[in-house]
Amino acid sequence: MDLYYIQGILMLAGINLMSVLGLSLLTGFTGMFSFGHAGFMAIGGYTSAMMTVNYGWPFIPALLMGALTAALMSALIGKLTLNLKGDYFCIATLGFGEAIRLVLDNVQYFGGARGWPGIPNYTNFTNVLIINIIAIIILANIIRSRQGRNMIAVREEELASQIVGINVFKYKLISLMISAAYAGIAGGLMAHYMTFLQPKMFSLVKSTELTIIVIFGGLGSISGSVLGALVLTSLPEILRSFSNWRLVIYGLSVIVIMISRPEGLMGGYELTPSSMKKLFTRMRSKKGNLPKSMEGGDTL
């Protein structure tokens, strides 16, 4: 395995991570599930590619434009569907994601279903790394602010949130918009990494994969999402020689995870310097035997 190959995998993981971080805010911290985030990636990807290819914009402004467009689109969808009950919101996002893909199939300006080649290769290891670090810091800052706490409150109990004066709809919308913006950036990174876009890349399977990563990493844990994205993106790549069987195993593992470790890898824990210290002192004093409850960490 050469360095180049490893870098390639890490870049793919990083691009996925960007989407997963956004989805983590929506799902892990605000308690809403989306099966349409591939749609926001598509919007971000196509917008930013349009800016660099057709308008000659530099990479970063193009990425931000993609993020903005995805966020605005999510605001529109959110206004219409955020009041739906949990599973109906899920289905609505699923419909949205698929609709975006099918619309793009028919937009000849972007090459339609055949795809859009010749996008400049601007994404590289360094910018993926830096963007992800910034994204993580922003996310952590949001979560330990009053806005982030309000989102967590919405996740825990909507009625109680209302009673303590939280505008539930508003915080759901903010969370959705931020997560869509993250997905939009991920889409832009992907476009300028693959140098090629095709609506097929943003199917329901992609959206499902993102949600699975968030759950696998552990709801309500940023470090879990990071770990999840790294593990679940690189494993299938490394297992590529097993070709078809890897997806069989993947599907089976999803079921096994759901029924055996629903709290995911991290399950509410956060890997921070302070929580590591706590963990070690507790291990020394009690020899394992950790309580299962959500504790330590900086979830709030």
């Binding site: 009673i163 004066g165 959500m294």
Partner: protein
């Protein structure tokens, strides 16, 4: 002077009139009580005041502003908070987190300031955390601040719910059976606590309760509800001597 006025308040669920044509004023600066047998419509009145249910007919005025059918978060923003008969805490979060969340309206830094962790955000965060600590201290929950709310003993969960409500700096506090499930000792402690915090936070309080002694002991004004309608209203003495009340309610109890 009344801080809250209900005018001709009515709520129907299908064919059932849970609350019918109730007129009642909650005076400012004292503790008032709302009593009545099971299913009389007491909790429904709280749900109407706080916007959880939509009003069928009538009006609710808070400090002379019409708050009928406003969204619950707006009503609590105006200064009315409550506790629930079947406790509604953020169960999986810690005691401290429960109160800290409710402190949110004491800060006004915006999302951008949070994202960049600007000085105003840091400064206000410190104040919010201080406020949460102070409230836990006052409510005697300080030594359990890192416990998961759901793991608290029942009585303390009710206290935590009050602490959380106080975090919003309310002017009117609605308590729905705060002593339910408590032993006489705990009930007595709670009564003292409620009478202590009322002047301390400059509150007006409306309590629903089944414990006659509690209500008679600390309330200066009482309304009795029966089958959704107002049966009587007045001082504890008035209520105790009212023949209709004795027949409908006290008679059954004692």
């Amino acid at each position: 002077m009344n801080i809250l006025e209900m005018k001709n308040l009515t709520k129907c669920f299908g064919g059932l009139t849970a609350v019918g044509n109730v007129d009642f004023g909650v005076p400012k600066g004292i503790i008032s009580g709302l009593i009545g047998p099971n299913g009389a419509g007491k909790t429904t009145i709280f749900n109407l005041i706080t916007g959880v249910y939509k009003v069928t007919d009538g009006k609710i005025l808070f400090k002379d502003n019409d708050i009928t059918n406003k969204e619950p978060y707006l009503i609590s923003g105006q200064g009315i908070t409550r506790t629930f008969q079947n406790i509604r805490l953020f169960k999986k979060l810690t005691v401290y987190e429960n109160v800290l969340i409710a402190c949110h309206s004491n800060g006004n830094y915006n999302l951008l300031e949070s994202v960049l962790r600007l000085p105003r955000c840091r400064k206000q965060e410190k104040q919010l955390k201080q406020k949460a600590d102070d409230l836990l201290e006052i409510m005697g929950l300080k030594d359990r601040k890192d416990l998961i709310a759901n793991n608290l003993p029942y009585g303390l969960q009710r206290r935590l719910e009050i602490a959380r409500a106080l975090a919003l700096n309310p002017e009117l506090l609605l308590l729905d059976e705060p002593a339910a499930g408590m032993n006489p000792d705990e009930t007595a402690q709670l009564m003292t606590l409620i009478s202590d915090i009322r002047p301390k936070f400059d509150l007006s309080v409306l309590i629903i309760d089944h414990h006659m002694d509690l209500v008679m002991g600390i309330c200066e004004k009482i309304m009795v509800l029966n089958f959704g309608c107002k049966l009587a209203e007045g001082t504890p003495q008035d209520i105790q001597n009212n023949p209709k009340v004795i027949e409908a309610y006290l008679g059954v109890e004692g």
